[in-house]
């Protein structure tokens, strides 16, 4: 299988910060908002270089979403920044009415998504946000896998007209995608070709899927690994092409198995080409305190869990 090299661990949120710095220099219509989490979102450089295009709203996320909607009226492209929990669940109705239904060009950028937020525990570890956001008509939902991809996605969504939910995380994780990549919204990336099983992963689970695929190769299992950075719109064509070849699928995501990537894939399969599927995802529970690695281990969201799910799905394959 194709090998990927970790260029050195980096956090995806720093990819967002780097993307914002670049946008600050290249696109005068881009403005940033933040609800008292500038350091967490890594946007210090953007603020330093563009103080007039930064709005600190304090701990008031609902107001931040409304202000962002209003800024679009005057032709600006607002990027809101806070933790994923406060970017979605806390402000669902503001996003629904003032942004999505009003078709406002707001980029909702959400850090610290999922369990890997770590020690702060379940109050901050949202595992339902992909579901909430993908249910909103017109919303684009993106969950990036590493620093380079997050930076590329940040640049790409500025060029896309319409509301976007961009989800990334807190911990330093392997940075393995190309530095000069072009990010194409809605386009799945086949990272490694295989014939026995398709592993469809998003976010932090993409690297874990590659590690799992390597281990499976030594056991004689040929896994195709797909990086689905855009959960909505889902690249059904790429997905179906792979699954027609392999005949079974494992989905992997740092999210509840209800409402996440796995369900989107399931719906596509049921409608077009039903095959066995296993879900590597949180099993409808809340998270808890712990280190990032401990939590991913305990809740079954690492390469070992993916490997196990693959072996399981192969037994169900006809």
């Amino acid at each position: 299988m194709k090998k990927y090299i970790d260029q050195g661990k980096k956090d995806t949120r720093s990819g967002y910060g780097a993307g914002m710095t670049e946008l600050g220099r290249s696109n005068p219509k881009v403005v940033a908002l933040c609800a008292d989490l500038v350091g967490s979102l890594k946007i210090e450089q953007f603020i330093e270089e563009n103080p007039e295009r930064f709005f600190q709203v304090g701990i008031a996320e609902a107001n931040m979403m409304g202000i962002a909607a209003g800024l679009t009226v005057g032709g600006y492209i607002p990027f809101t920044g806070t933790f994923a929990n406060f970017s979605t669940g806390r402000v669902y109705d503001q996003i629904r009415q003032s942004i999505a239904y009003s078709d406002k060009n707001v980029k909702i950028c959400a850090s610290h998504a999922g369990l890997t937020l770590g020690e702060d525990g379940a109050t901050h570890q949202i595992l339902e946000d992909i579901g909430m956001m993908k249910m909103l008509p017109g919303m684009t939902v993106i969950n990036t896998c590493d620093y380079n991809q997050t930076k590329a996605a940040t640049l790409a969504i500025a060029e896309h007209h319409g509301p976007v939910y961009l989800r990334f995380g807190r911990p330093k994780v392997p940075n393995f995608t190309a530095t000069d990549q072009q990010f194409e919204i809605g386009k799945a990336i086949v990272l490694s070709e295989g014939t026995d099983v398709t592993i469809v992963a998003t976010g932090h689970l993409v690297w874990e899927a590659l590690v799992a695929a390597e281990a499976l190769e030594t056991q004689g299992v040929s896994a195709e690994v797909i990086n689905i950075h855009t959960i909505k719109p889902l690249d059904e064509k790429a997905l179906l092409a792979s699954i027609r070849k392999t005949g079974c699928v494992v989905t992997a995501e740092e999210h509840n198995f209800l409402g996440g990537l796995g369900e989107s894939v399931s719906r596509t399969l049921t409608q077009h080409y039903p095959v066995p599927q296993e879900f590597v995802a949180v099993q409808d529970t809340f998270g808890e305190s712990g280190t990032s690695d401990q939590l991913m281990e305990k809740y079954g969201l690492n390469n070992k869990a993916i490997e196990k799910a693959v072996l399981q799905v192969l037994t169900r394959k006809k």
């Binding site: 609902a62 409304g66 209003g70 679009t72 005057g74 003032s98 009003s102």
Partner: protein
């Protein structure tokens, strides 16, 4: 994949009555009242009480106070813009937009009907000229108005942003986030008007959830506050709005506490919350129309 029906920018030519006389304004008020009760009666739903209470405000705003361009564009650059936060008073909003020429007056006939651009609560979703944000779920409009005001500053556009909010709506917490922001960050190109009719669905605001001294609350959040006692007197409204305008650009957002009578102009709908979200029957409609004889022609 879902695609919204709207274009990013759309426009329609509309006639601008230059310098209307007081009599012309008052005639328009009466006609708009007729529109409101007829629209709500036809579909046996909608919100006549708050609409009637704010009719004079809307006429003053759109015919006298705001500087408006002759075509509508979403960005509103180079003109004053308005946001309605208490979206349920859509009948008065639609009637005034139509009478002003943003869209055909006969379209008022489609209010709340299937496939209409005149949804129960205002929306940008169907490309209705004049509307820049959806509202209905309460408490969100002030944040949006602030955002638009910030955009005007970034654009070097010295025109103003106006907004209207119900008083009961101030019970929504998001307002206070917005009020704090505007005061703290000196958003001084914004004039927010509160429709202080002291009524909400379940009764008097002071019984449901007391708002107390609304002006004092805005003041301590850093706003310049003007009390408008005669909120259904078009001359008083115009005078107050002009005063408010003169106080913009001085480091504080401006708030007008506009005391109105819910249901104003239709005697049996006045001074009660009963007509907040209730349509008149045939007989009641006839009474309401008799009290407001046709002036500019019904739609």
């Amino acid at each position: 994949m879902y695609k919204p029906k709207i274009a990013v920018t759309f426009s329609s030519e509309f006639k601008n009555i230059i310098m209307p006389t007081l009599q012309e304004l008052e005639e328009t008020v009466v006609q708009v009242r007729r529109d409101i009760v007829r629209m709500v009666h036809k579909v046996n739903s909608g919100h006549p009480g708050g609409s009637l209470g704010c009719t004079e405000f809307f006429i003053a705003l759109y015919y006298e106070v705001m500087e408006l361009k002759k075509t509508f564009s979403m960005d509103g650059i180079g003109e004053d813009i308005f946001f309605l936060s208490n979206g349920h008073i859509s009948p008065v909003y639609y009637s005034v937009l139509a009478r002003k020429g943003y869209f055909p007056i006969k379209e008022l006939n489609t209010f709340r009907l299937l496939n209409s651009r005149l949804q129960g609560h205002p929306t940008t979703h169907d490309g209705l000229p004049g509307v820049r944000i959806a509202s209905g779920s309460l408490g969100q409009g002030m944040s949006v108005a602030i955002g638009a005001a910030l955009a005007k500053k970034l654009n070097g556009d010295d025109h103003l942003v106006y907004s209207l909010h119900g008083d009961g709506e101030l019970q929504e917490g998001q307002n206070w986030e917005a009020i704090m922001y505007a005061g703290s960050k000196k958003v001084d190109n914004l004039i927010a008007t509160i429709d202080r009719n002291e009524q909400q669905i379940d009764g008097n605001t002071e019984d449901v959830m007391s708002l107390g001294d609304v002006g004092a609350k805005f003041r301590v959040f850093g706003w310049d506050v003007i009390e408008l006692k005669e909120g259904n007197d078009i001359k008083a409204i115009i005078q107050t709005m002009k005063e408010a305008k003169s106080r913009t650009g001085k480091g504080k957002p401006v708030c007008i506490i506009m005391h109105t009578v819910m249901g104003n102009g239709v005697d049996f709908m006045m001074h009660t919350h009963a007509w907040h979200g209730k349509a008149p029957n045939d007989e009641q409609l006839a009474t309401a129309l008799a009290q407001n004889p046709e002036t500019l022609g019904d739609y």
